[in-house]
Symmetry: C2
Subunit: 516 residues, 2 copies
């Protein structure tokens, strides 16, 4: 077999059977290998930002890495922004990046670039495979790295000759994922002591502490001891909805974040980072906790957070069967009248089906979502983790591939939708059950707020031309139809409710332009 | 004034009055400064690949750099692929990349990344400005670097506090561009001696040697001495069309390139690189000249190529007023019947208006273009220089902004069009005179050839799913309309001719889907 076959076999033997791809000449042997490896599902994205973002969404839901296949330095560069988001989400991912044949690099042909240098800022692990004989061991190592806790971006660069030359080495297999590390007993006891001392305490959670089993334990601790719970501002995945413990997030707007945290005297971090403002604003603090608030990291995101919480509960004498008070499920009415971002959230709260997956890149439009969906049907909530816009459509694409039985709902701001709009085509081609809701406000609305927040005053004519997406307005129904997606446009709450019901009832991808 | 004002003033004082932009929070003070600096034209792109590609197209036609405005590491990352192309085109460009306030970096907020590391692989010069007082001197240095020969990518990273803090330093101005360096007398005499010795000699040209004044001198040398002329495979800009000397390019397909060069005994490089294959192919050479062919670099792309050619002509005793034999301008008939890539090229050859600018990312579809446009109306020819697809639509956008009186024709393959399809919106917003012709073959057609060329055999079912863009087919009329561009679809040569005539007659942007 050749190196490309060995690479495919290694990925398959190591449990990776999905590859999001946009290949070029240097990856043709990998593509050819697909004909011999029907177990490897290869999903084409028409731009690399779609490829890496979909791999992120897949792994967040599947809890196991996908592979990507990218073409040389520029192809990898196109995927970097969503690798940045994936890195911030602690998503495991294995990127296979083709390069020129090793002996061709000396010629500095037009597509030549320093791929390792391009990979490094967004990768935890980078290696260029030396030959077809090394490729299997290197690929296995990449998978091992990707699956190390809390999830890493592993980038393996494969010169074309390493793919096409014969490979005689045995097929290597990645190491089985190690169990997550448990925190020190002394740290748990210290945290319990702190909670007992009576200061106003918040447990700040992220990572797998936001999955239901951990949340239930955290909620018992809160109920028994009076500490409050809070999720960090952005998280890879949260399990939410009726019957699950309710947890709020630190809000994005700095004044709201400061206000929410103003009375906290001690913050115990369980898989979370201490809250800081997303950007600096003149005259405002960067750290969101008040002066004097003590910050105690108890468990890092890589640690065994479930065990940490259980142990902490035991230390605190929380009964293991303590029933959590849950708010009753209230069926709210469907919204009526003018279509607003809030009306969309209200409709979602009512209409969202059981086990939906919400992919949220609604940016400024989505800030009321949590209130309306607290008691909605049970769902997973995936969000933009690194602030690099263009994540939503790809995330939804990957999540839908990971969870074929579930409905994916993508809450998508219009400005950021344009970044990776090509992902709609992949949704159509793969027939994915995704409803994309475009918040069509025809502006980078968040920047209008930020303009004032950073002290730049009121935007005038020239500035507005950089903040508004009008003239011409984007026609989302046409854009979606152009990529094979059925679409509709709603300008009232009633029309939106109807469009959403219809889209949720039909299989396959749909898009609704919510004109707000 | 604040740092952002100082930055704008420095750019304006240094001759940069156009900025392609996709700003975010960290650039809001620059955006605010635009309200106070109406001389700075700011053009919004809905994705950074559009921004950097448009800046490339602008500078290729204006012969002076544009600025770009990009948002932190991921925004820059999204623009890297077209920076790669610009770097290969020796395009001058000044990138302004906003970062977090310097004191905020310690918090590792979600959008934090190592911007210098992201910039370096595609930049000749990278600097992070230290403060609002340093910003003017740094920006002036960036322009100086960008304008140094043969054109550099200069990236200046601006922390938000350097933009919003007061700046008391004087406004610095970039150094005036230095004259290009002249080659050594001995090198010119040696080249003349080589030409006289009677070996089969080719002058290979690139850079400004492909502009008309230099081409005329080169053509006189060829006519007087019997050497042949050839342009390198891809070039930033060529001046072509009726009345201008005809020069062929080295073809992309390796076998054609080898065949074209097989009898060359010595190759003299004037602004060109020695020809190598774009990719390596098993069992084929990487160097396109035959064994034993001597390669003599006479002038680098940064050198004064016009002077080199004139001097060489004098050394060779070429009469300065030697009339160049030019093929007569033949009016070919318009194509009829089935629509093929060749029919599109034939129609262009007939219908292209005087002083059109052709931006060519037709990839595999465009290979007959030169034959049909040799005697077409005079035009500039801009092509994909670095092999990073997604250049065409942005290049056309920038070229149209640089040359408002001229018609821009973008020859655009469908697969690569999707990479930066967002650029159509900028064309609509700015009302640019651009006709985009989409070669709609619903596949990465070039990869079907490459698949065989690298020895991967015939693509099977799984491989074809990575090479074909069908199921669903992209609907280009809807995609264009969705971004405010009038569009039509042609399936016969007659329909295409008519659509092209109409599009060329009307001002503003148009798109034609040529179904081939």
């Amino acid at each position: 077999m050749n190196g490309a076959d060995a690479l495919c076999d290694t990925l398959l033997a190591s449990g990776i059977d999905i590859c999001f791809a946009n290949p070029g000449t240097s990856e043709m042997h990998f593509v050819a290998a697909l004909d011999r490896k029907p177990q490897m599902r290869c999903v084409l994205g028409l731009f690399e930002g779609v490829v890496t973002g979909a791999a992120d969404g897949y792994a967040r839901m599947a809890d196991t890495p996908a592979a990507t296949l990218l073409h040389t330095g520029p192809g990898l560069a196109n995927g970097l922004a969503n690798l940045h988001n994936a890195r911030r989400a602690h998503t495991p991912m294995v990127n296979i990046v083709g390069d020129h044949a090793s002996y061709h690099l000396q010629h500095d042909a037009p597509l030549t670039s320093d791929i390792e240098a391009i990979a490094r800022p967004m990768s935890h692990w980078v290696r260029t495979t030396r030959s077809s004989h090394a490729i299997s061991a290197d690929a296995a190592q990449a998978v091992t790295q990707a699956r190390s806790h809390p999830g890493q971006i592993a980038t393996l660069i494969v010169p074309a000759d390493a793919a096409w030359d014969e490979s005689t080495a045995d097929i290597a297999i990645a190491e089985a994922p190690k169990p997550r590390q448990r925190v020190d007993a002394s740290a748990v006891r210290a945290a319990a002591d702190r909670i007992r001392c009576g200061q106003r305490t918040t447990l700040m959670l992220s990572g797998v502490a936001l999955r239901e089993p951990a949340l239930v334990v955290a909620a018992r601790i809160a109920q028994h001891t009076g500490v409050s719970l809070l999720a960090q501002q952005s998280n890879a995945r949260m399990e939410r909805g009726a019957g699950r413990p309710v947890i709020e997030r630190v809000p994005y707007p700095i004044d709201q974040a400061l206000s929410m945290l103003k009375d906290v005297q001690q913050l115990i971090l369980i898989g979370a980072k201490a809250p800081v403002s997303f950007f600096a604003y003149p005259g405002k603090p960067g750290v969101m906790t008040p002066p004097g608030c003590e910050i105690h990291p108890l468990a890092a995101v890589a640690d065994d957070l479930q065990h940490t919480l259980e142990w902490l509960a035991d230390e605190l004498g929380v009964p293991r069967d303590l029933a959590i008070r849950k708010p009753e499920r209230v069926r709210l009415p469907l919204p009526t009248g003018a279509l607003t971002a809030e009306a969309v959230m209200a409709a979602l709260g009512v209409l969202m089906p059981e086990e939906a997956i919400l992919c949220d890149e609604s940016v400024s439009a989505g800030r009321t979502l949590f209130g309306y969906t607290r008691n909605a049907a049970r769902h997973d909530y995936l969000q933009l983790t690194g602030g690099a816009i263009g994540a939503g459509i790809p995330l939804a694409t990957g999540a839908a591939i990971a969870c074929p039985g579930r409905k994916v709902i993508c809450l998508q701001a219009d400005g950021s939708a344009m970044y990776t709009v090509q992902g709609l085509w992949t949704q159509a081609r793969e027939g994915l059950d995704i409803v994309t809701i475009i918040f069509s406000n025809r502006s980078y609305a968040i920047l209008r707020n930020e303009f004032k927040s950073v002290g730049a005053g009121e935007p005038g004519h020239n500035a507005c031309r950089m903040l508004d997406l009008d003239n011409p307005a984007l026609q989302w129904v046409q854009l979606a139809n152009g990529m094979g997606i059925s679409a509709s446009r709603a300008t009232t709450a009633e029309a939106f409710n109807q469009a959403l019901q219809r889209a949720l009832a039909e299989p396959g991808p749909h898009l609704i332009e919510a004109v707000i």
